[in-house]
Symmetry: C2
Subunit: 289 residues, 2 copies
């Protein structure tokens, strides 16, 4: 749980994608200030109202001194971070001392790399916290967002969709798919969710998907590899608008594994577009019990 | 094996897609004439040089009398055939006598429906033959077509791709995918192979796939449900051209499960486009032993 009493800033080691800024906003909303330590070559967002400094991978001394200056003890690593390329590294004295660590991190899987970094931060007296500690409520909960609910047939379709995403997960692909009943209309590859949703309109035009809108359900879950980091796919206002434009009936996301951006807006937008939006467990169930 | 000595015509009960005409051409090339019994509402090809008559699902008397007139004994059912809709049925006297059969066929899975139809034809003295009996060489064999071969890394990528297609097969989707190494770039949904291949060019433009062409491998296999009928996905000149335009390195198809159209042309085109084209077993191996 977020400790609502604390006022010392939380450091966010901010990598790529939308998550770091969303996390910053969510922490900020709990009353704690935030310091964005933006990893150059990875973080590509805006600081907004938050305190931010930029560092390169390898600048450990810089990181530790800036965080101590600001009185940070808690640190959370957030966002998409492929292994840094050698040419992106800027090794300061703290980095030189940790060259063996850097090479280990580059050579290992994500899980192992995260553990090594966590140990390094903790040896310096920092406390590596998890997303759910500092930003509870960012990940979708189980159950509906907004007023509309999936019917029995749609609930079956969602379960089938999550089964599909589960089968794809060893292949590090298929973070999302679109189904109608048990027919799989689209599977997300490297094109991203937005481009996949756009295909539904084309399928309708060509007659390959001839069901009257609203029809078709977007299911979305994190990649297996994504679960290892503090990174989540994000469903936000743009996703709802795209789903509505494609004539979809609703969206089902993995509870705890997909972030709802602008969550206060989501229920209102879901109702406005006439979409259901539900958080589900990994079997696609969206009701507790 | 095809009996090269026989000259009695082979009847093709022709449903949808490209396969019926390809099979007709392939049988014709072995020296036996062909009669296309074109199922209205399903067959949408051209008769070309072949004898053809049109019938509706349910017109059993018409089918049997026309085939006997032409001296057909062998019959092969080819092509894509969803269960006929009631409004497409035209029930003649032979159909009336078989109404229970028609309702059974509509209500059952493909496998069971095919068995019932086979029994019906055989009770009338026809001999239901398989594709490999009358048109050997239509399905891709194991091994390379053309001069180029996948290298070791590409062979690993192909095996990974076939593993992916296998995982998708219970979901009746993902007849094809495009990979680079072990990265899955695209998975085919309802859009079809051609539209999926076109996405690679878009991925290159947007920088989501930044490998220099030729790169990326198309893997293609039949759907699980497709294997139950005499229907196969087809790879032809258009597929090779699309693959070449998308800058792919090659194509790997399930041997015995994917038809190579204009097969004499394929090797020449593969070499001209600088693509490898290989038939693989279900583990993605393309060499015998």
């Amino acid at each position: 749980m977020a400790d609502m009493g604390r006022r010392d800033p939380v450091a966010i080691l901010a990598a790529g994608g939308r998550m770091p800024r969303l996390v910053a906003d969510a922490i900020s909303a709990t009353g704690r200030p935030v310091v964005l330590a933006a990893l150059s070559g990875f973080f590509d967002g805006e600081a907004g109202p938050h305190d931010m400094f930029v560092l390169s991978p390898g600048q450990f001394s810089l990181l530790f001194s800036r965080l101590r200056q600001r009185g940070c003890r808690d640190i959370v690593m957030v966002g998409e971070m492929k292994r840094p390329r050698l040419r992106d590294l800027r090794i300061d004295w703290g980095g030189v001392k940790r060259l063996p660590l850097l090479f280990k991190v580059r050579g290992r899987g994500d899980d192992s790399a995260m553990r090594l970094l966590t140990e390094t931060f903790e040896r310096e007296g920092f406390n590596v916290v998890s997303l759910s500690d500092v930003a509870p409520g960012l990940a979708a909960p189980i159950g509906p967002v907004g007023r509309l609910l999936p019917n029995v047939k749609q609930t079956d379709s969602i379960a089938f969709g999550f089964e599909l995403l589960g089968a794809l997960s060893p292949f590090d692909v298929g973070q999302a798919a679109i189904l109608h009943g048990r027919r799989v209309l689209a599977v997300e590859g490297a094109e991203g969710t937005a481009a996949m949703i756009e295909r539904i309109a084309a399928l309708r035009r060509s007659g390959r998907f001839s069901q009257t809108p609203p029809s078709g359900i977007l299911v979305k879950s994190p990649k297996a590899s994504q679960e290892l980091r503090n990174d989540m796919p994000v469903v936000g206002a743009a996703t709802l608008q795209a789903a509505s434009e494609a004539g979809l009936a609703g969206i089902a996301v993995a509870a705890g594994g997909v972030a709802l951006a602008e969550s206060a807006e989501m229920a209102r937008l879901a109702d406005q577009y006439g979409l259901f939006v539900v958080g589900c467990d990994r079997e696609g169930r969206w009701t507790n019990g």
